[in-house]
Symmetry: D2
Subunit: 341 residues, 4 copies
């Protein structure tokens, strides 16, 4: 049996697509007059464009799944830099295992989905479908989270607060300057991870708490929920741009209800777009249609579009279109992170 | 336009299937010699049966999605009562919006997936695919969570601790005696919700914190992660029985790595079964195969089976088979909740 | 590298489930009060039961996909024997590669979907997902089709006519007595394969035509369409029970339009059930909803149900229920094959 | 209730994307270094490019599903015009209901998937997911097929022969000059529809046969299979470019086996690409992986790629890339239609 060497396996780097360097304007324009997923993609793009043009609209980007490891990280960074996004709600994996990880200079690698996983395990290589990660590098990531936690005042933090501290740390220590965490920190775009410990961050934080059993940093997702709801309450309109479903989707949608519970009547999310491959028929939130969210009073019916596609194939087209239309240039900055300072 | 009355819409109650009253033994036995999903269902059942017979195996049930609202709640309760499950990791919605909700005497209703959601909204009816919920009843649920939080000592809690308090409360106040929370509480089966505030509980807890800005209950999911990892470290073998994916799946799998980070080498999860409709090709954790988890060192390769099906259609057959085989009768009780007392 | 021997690989036989020996009555009764796929399964079963009880209803079973190789062949045979089905429209593979093949005494084998296909190829083993076939046996199947064609008067045949001749041949030569072809032949239930040559039959018939270039058997699917439409025109009501989609689904639905084209106004199919895993969003017929078929004037809106499931997991439950309810015992026989004699 | 007028509903025309006018070169180049569906799309494009550059390779395009109604018809026409395709195998609907239909000057219309289908039925509007068709125009299509059949010598035809006659007819009578049928006819690219009568053609041909009961045109799909196999036998290498699955996919793959049955050993298809949303797990041919086809000896393992996407979203990017690379300019013309003259 042929033996594999780790260096042979981890050799082709995943490169993040640059939506500024491609121009999809004509493609999206053509898709608008087609059918099925192509037209859905164009309609969803138009709705995002509407959010950009609506001067009262806070745009919330939610990210679940592994698109950041799969070549779309720079898309999200460019969205923040181009003022297309005011708030991010993401999975811990997106923010810690993928973005913080690459900020440290580490890379994702092109691999194969049809591989002997035991061989990968023997080489300490982790696999996400057709993408590989060096687990030893990931463990460095865990340890730095612990160090950051060790350096903070022991008390409950929202994930937003903790990620802001990661941003501060990266300003001084990052190898790759335009990570999503650092960019968002510098642009005062708050990032929330409602299930923060379900990621590489969890390992580092457990280690921190075990070493500091009495006084330590804890992550209070209730605080996250209240903070995000405050942004909802201070926004005249809101729009959701959702990559995948999961906790981020539900969490962002639920702020409408949470505001109500706090005695403040806020409008439903006025705009909503979701890109997903999830199957609508299993009753899970990831796959529930936006129409269904309307029954819950979360999402308005007029500007909503599901795009049933794997996001890496359509997201770059959508954002490249928005970028080259340049309406984001006239958009005011909300800088919601400032309200918590 | 015909007007609908709430009472006309919320009229047919979802009834939970009783796996003791049906007997699927012959069906699973036949499926073992068929192909495609039927054979996968039989193999997965056999793997669960192996977990039951392995006297050293802690069985972790993870639940994402809405099967509890869809007629499978009693399946989970019977699994706990019949000592088939030692730990539960679930979404907040499963535990609070569905189980705690029904413990208060409220019901889920049979509806339609092809309906005017604006009409439902006007009637304060929430929809999960083809299932309806009275939102006014759900708001009572939120408020009781707040009352429970108000009654507790202000400090960070793991979700397990808080859910245990809900169990205590239900012993005195429940309308339906065998809720999952109460049954698990009485059987010392710990329940973890790693994204607890992403549910009806979130609303109640935000309200609690807003009313008690200085000293309040917070939910620390790092603590959850540490507690679950302690169970993993104390167990000789572990098996995962996963309904859907989401945070519960990832959280339970990650305990292997967390133990390593804490300096204790534990074996991978020896057994793993997942029932899901998720699409493997989007690189999200919900849909990642168990084979993929092997590369991460989380799940062993020998006893693992994915069942690509909507869980309500196969889960009752699987558990009825296990129930009627009666091997659970000879199984020791781990009562892991006791280690945190 | 370990060498495999064909006998080691083809060793575990796929056994067809016997819906008479299992009793799913209580399960379907419970599923009726659940949600998602379980309730859809119960509703679809009830619609089939309605077809059975409607004394004016011709029931058309359409079969695409490989359920016959996967352990459901006997389900279809028992449906014919129990007078639950009046017409069959199927893929060539179902009728020739799977049913005629097993009638000759050959078997399908339990295999794995995660296998080295080049190794299988080296052993002349064909794979359908997790099921294996001995290709040398399949070639015998091809040759017998040629022999049957050689023995017939050279002229265009509908597939129904040719399959009837296969039935006649099997009465004398079959190794397994209750094949679907032979059973249907003996019960005067016509079988149509609108894309007949897209199967093992195609190989045999090409060989037949090459050897008899001037005068030979040809397969005229226009004739099939006219014959099936005649049955539609002679039936007061019709119901479709569809396993998968493909050409059989479309062909059976289209008879409504064909009758119109022939100047006879016939009602839409009154009942329609489809079991499929196909994705509704690609605009292909296999996956198009029954609601969509309503726009084409093919299927009525009242008694229609899609069941999104892999058929081997739900079909046996559905038919076992119908079998044990025994309403088929009072049903008249249409024996539509007789109108072509 | 608001009444709808047919003219109001059929108003926005589906326009076919022009892959010459967009330039996706940079996008595909970027996707090659990403992951998931984007990388699969780039790899599949590279394989098609390999087919183009392989001077011995006959390229077979198979089309199932409704992409032709959904804005991709011109993509296929441009592929033929740019000598990227040597043979087409398609569903009857693609060739007759969509292409012949538009050749007559009729259009497809942008609609909604969330609509009252009974209302559409009342207006004689047919729906394909989110696309509408005027059924009265479709009936004109049926009748012209009958007229063409009436004008031909009564005997069995392969679908290829009949479609060639449609091409001839269109040269004189078409309203839209570059239909796929006419373009292919003029470029000597044969088109096969193995299930020809499962389409609007079926209606016209049934009417033709009913009016000419003794002597009439029949469609012999065995002849199709033999003709396509002859092309396979005369080609040194072959490549499959498959949109969707269905009968066209299986039929084209099976020519390898058919050649064997005829005593000629031909190589497997050297290249194979399939774009599909089908679910691999149901054992149907539409969704079977190319890896699985290897076990059948149909498709070689080296140059094969599945792209799990709805084709309208990725196909234009792929073909635009190939077009702008211009390697097709140096490709010889096979003009396979000439061998049957």
């Amino acid at each position: 049996m042929k033996r594999f060497d780790k260096k042979d396996i981890l050799k082709d780097i995943v490169k993040h697509i640059d939506i500024k360097a491609i121009d999809s304007t004509k493609i999206i324009d053509a898709m608008r007059d087609m059918s099925f997923t192509s037209r859905d993609t164009a309609i969803a793009t138009d709705i995002l464009q509407n959010m950009i043009k609506d001067k009262d609209c806070t745009i919330i980007l939610t990210i679940a799944g592994s698109t950041s490891a799969a070549g779309c990280m720079q898309v999200y960074v460019d969205m923040v830099k181009s003022n297309m996004v005011d708030v991010i709600v993401a999975t811990g994996a997106t923010i810690v295992d993928m973005d913080f990880f690459e900020a440290l200079g580490f890379k994702h690698y092109k691999g194969s989905s049809n591989v002997d996983d035991t061989m990968l395990r023997d080489n300490y290589i982790d696999r996400i479908y057709d993408t590989y990660i060096d687990e030893e590098e990931l463990q460095i990531c865990d340890k730095l989270i612990k160090l950051i936690a060790d350096s903070l005042e022991p008390r409950p933090y929202s994930s937003r607060e903790f990620i802001m501290e990661m941003g501060k740390w990266l300003v001084k220590n990052s190898k790759k300057n335009d990570s999503l965490i650092q960019t968002a920190y510098e642009c005062d775009v708050p990032i929330f991870c409602p299930a923060f410990s379900d990621s590489s961050a969890g390992f580092g934080l457990v280690l921190h708490q075990v070493e500091h059993p009495d006084k330590h940093v804890s992550i209070d997702s209730v605080k996250d929920f209240y903070e995000l709801t405050q942004i909802k309450m201070k926004s005249k309109n809101t729009g959701l741009f959702m990559i995948g479903g999961g906790v981020p989707k539900n969490f962002a949608q639920d702020t409408v209800i949470c505001a109500e519970v706090l005695g403040k009547n806020v409008p439903m999310h006025k705009y909503a777009v979701q890109i997903t491959v999830a199957d609508v028929r299993d009753g899970a939130c990831s796959s529930s249609t936006l129409k269904e969210a309307t029954s819950w009073g979360k999402v308005d019916t007029i500007f909503q579009q599901m795009v049933f596609a794997e996001a890496t194939s359509v997201l770059p087209l959508m954002i490249s279109y928005i970028y080259h239309k340049e309406d984001w240039k006239n958009r005011q900055k909300f800088e919601w992170a400032k309200i918590f300072k």
